[in-house]
Symmetry: C2
Subunit: 344 residues, 2 copies
């Protein structure tokens, strides 16, 4: 049915190897012959059979990106990855991975063993699963990792300035006169969230503000988390004048809670967020954010992985993208009140 390399060779009156060379842009074919082969290819509508190539090259030309679950972070990531699928020879297989879930483990094991994938990009918290890390190590499959640290020594990774970004936003709030800054932090087992928290804390301390644990509220990185944490913050005897949510979703919950409490933003309370990953500006217009450059991170990690798969040593093995503050009007300057404590 399908046209094979043999038929092309016949038509171009040369050997199949020559056709192969032309198809793969290898040198050592004279222009005239190359032309003849190219013509034969178009005339016959020849398309190389990938399975045969895979068989002999022991390569699947499929790379895989592992995700934990699907939320807004994931959906942005996925859409970026899917668009990368337009490039090059590689198909991109997206697969969910739930740590300690045996079906996840079986699936990824099979994918690797059957050589259906040449490489793997992981995102937290997948990389904290020892089984997965062991599997990757022992199989020797190419691996790049999206997160602010190395799960296994020396694994290349791509990340953003979580610490610095949070530090800068906190400092910015302080410079606007805020002294009581509530912080909606994410889960403690998520390294990015932790780094952001450290950045917040460092900025507060650097400016000799009282670091008060009561302004630090645990909250999952989602809407109800931000909602509940904000209700709690605003019920304090000395409520914060600014709230810094370490995720988009928590910020959305915070905004909702403030609306409900008839607290004007930014009139009465300023709001800042870390993320801007979802189309948050469309859904919740006007929240000032530290932009997390997810799209750049995803693109870079895939490109690094392809380099690794192709045996090129990437020039960088750790890439950290800068963050930046985007002002959208949810932060207001307030007159700095007289400092109460911390004056020695």
């Amino acid at each position: 049915m399908a046209v094979t390399i043999k038929e092309v060779a016949q038509r171009a009156a040369c050997s199949i190897k020559t056709v192969s060379r032309v198809v793969n842009d290898e040198p050592h074919v004279k222009p005239a012959l190359r032309e003849r082969v190219l013509n034969a290819i178009t005339e016959l509508g020849y398309v190389p059979n990938i399975s045969a190539r895979q068989l002999v090259q022991k390569k699947s030309y499929v790379i895989c990106i592992l995700l934990h679950s699907s939320g807004s972070f994931q959906s942005t990531l996925i859409s970026k990855v899917l668009d990368l699928g337009y490039e090059g020879n590689y198909e991109i297989l997206v697969q969910t991975y739930y740590p300690s879930f045996s079906r996840s483990r079986d699936k990824i094991t099979t994918l690797i063993q059957q050589k259906r994938i040449d490489g793997l990009v992981t995102t937290p918290p997948c990389d904290s699963d020892p089984f997965l890390i062991d599997l990757i190590k022992s199989s020797g499959i190419a691996h790049v990792h999206i997160a602010p640290f190395q799960p296994t020594g020396g694994t290349p990774y791509v990340s953003a300035e979580d610490y610095t970004g949070a530090y800068q936003m906190t400092e910015y709030l302080i410079q606007k006169g805020h002294q009581r800054i509530g912080c909606l932090m994410g889960l403690r087992n998520h390294r990015s969230s932790l780094d952001r928290l450290f950045g917040y804390k460092a900025a507060v301390e650097a400016h000799a503000l009282p670091f008060d644990v009561k302004y630090l509220v645990d909250s999952e990185n989602n809407f109800p988390g931000g909602y509940n944490a904000t209700r709690m913050l605003m019920s304090l005897s000395e409520p914060p004048t600014a709230i810094f949510a370490l995720s988009d979703e928590a910020a959305a919950g915070a905004l909702y809670a403030l609306n409900e409490l008839k607290i004007d933003v930014p009139g009465q309370v300023s709001l800042a967020a870390f993320g801007d990953i979802t189309h948050s500006n469309e859904i919740w217009p006007g929240i000032s954010v530290v932009k997390y450059p997810l799209e750049q991170i995803v693109e870079k990690s895939v490109r690094m992985l392809i380099d690794l798969v192709e045996g090129l040593q990437p020039d960088e093995r750790q890439v950290i993208f800068p963050t930046k503050i985007i002002e959208r009007g949810s932060i207001r300057s307030i007159a700095a009140p007289v400092r109460q404590d911390n004056r020695r």
Copy 2:
């Protein structure tokens, strides 16, 4: 490096063909020998090479689902699809497709020509691209289609009761005493939205209410669309007492607009939506909806596709799932006012 079928055969002292039979659960192997082969397989850690199998069977064991762009509909769909990837022999390749975009066309053409995919699930509006439909037809690739009609005669499809669901919700609102029901409709080239609109219209007319075009507002299926349309509706001299948004995102925009206008939901205006696709109940708690069974649809369409790929004629070629109304408290009964017109 990797263990091959040959080595297993050697160890089990039989032919490679016998090993193949055991691996593929074919008959005609005596229990004792089968046992021996199975042992050899575990002892050596043998895993069949998929590329070789692909080569000889002319089958990729990858199926593809095409999407237009990434939004919340897409993200739910994707996460469902990704979880289906835990089953069976097929990997699922998710690929964006933008009608009339040449890179999209090249990509899908290549995927099909290189036999990297065995089958294809399409979602609107991809299926309205004549190039894609032609390609699918001429290549003869297996195809299932998520939408309320057939783009090409006889293509199997999976869908939901868009018309009936909208009819029922509208009727429900009417029974609650509402006579002026605003409708935020989606784009007119999206067949599902159209069907919903027809359902709304039919219900209004069936109850002898005045069908007034001013209550029918164009709005893209997103937040700003719903926001703007609602502002417009509420500025009418006789604003609606209920708003029916034909998508989740538009409903979110509507709720935001109503909040901004200090209009209580459901105290002053009732709100209903069609969708519940996103985790809308978490993000915008309490909107009453017609549930669109996206997850069932996706699962069914993939299973149908696999059946088609395997040459099984699926028993159903059109599957339409029912919708249902979920009350979450955004709809209020109002005393039926005296009918003004329509009394003859």
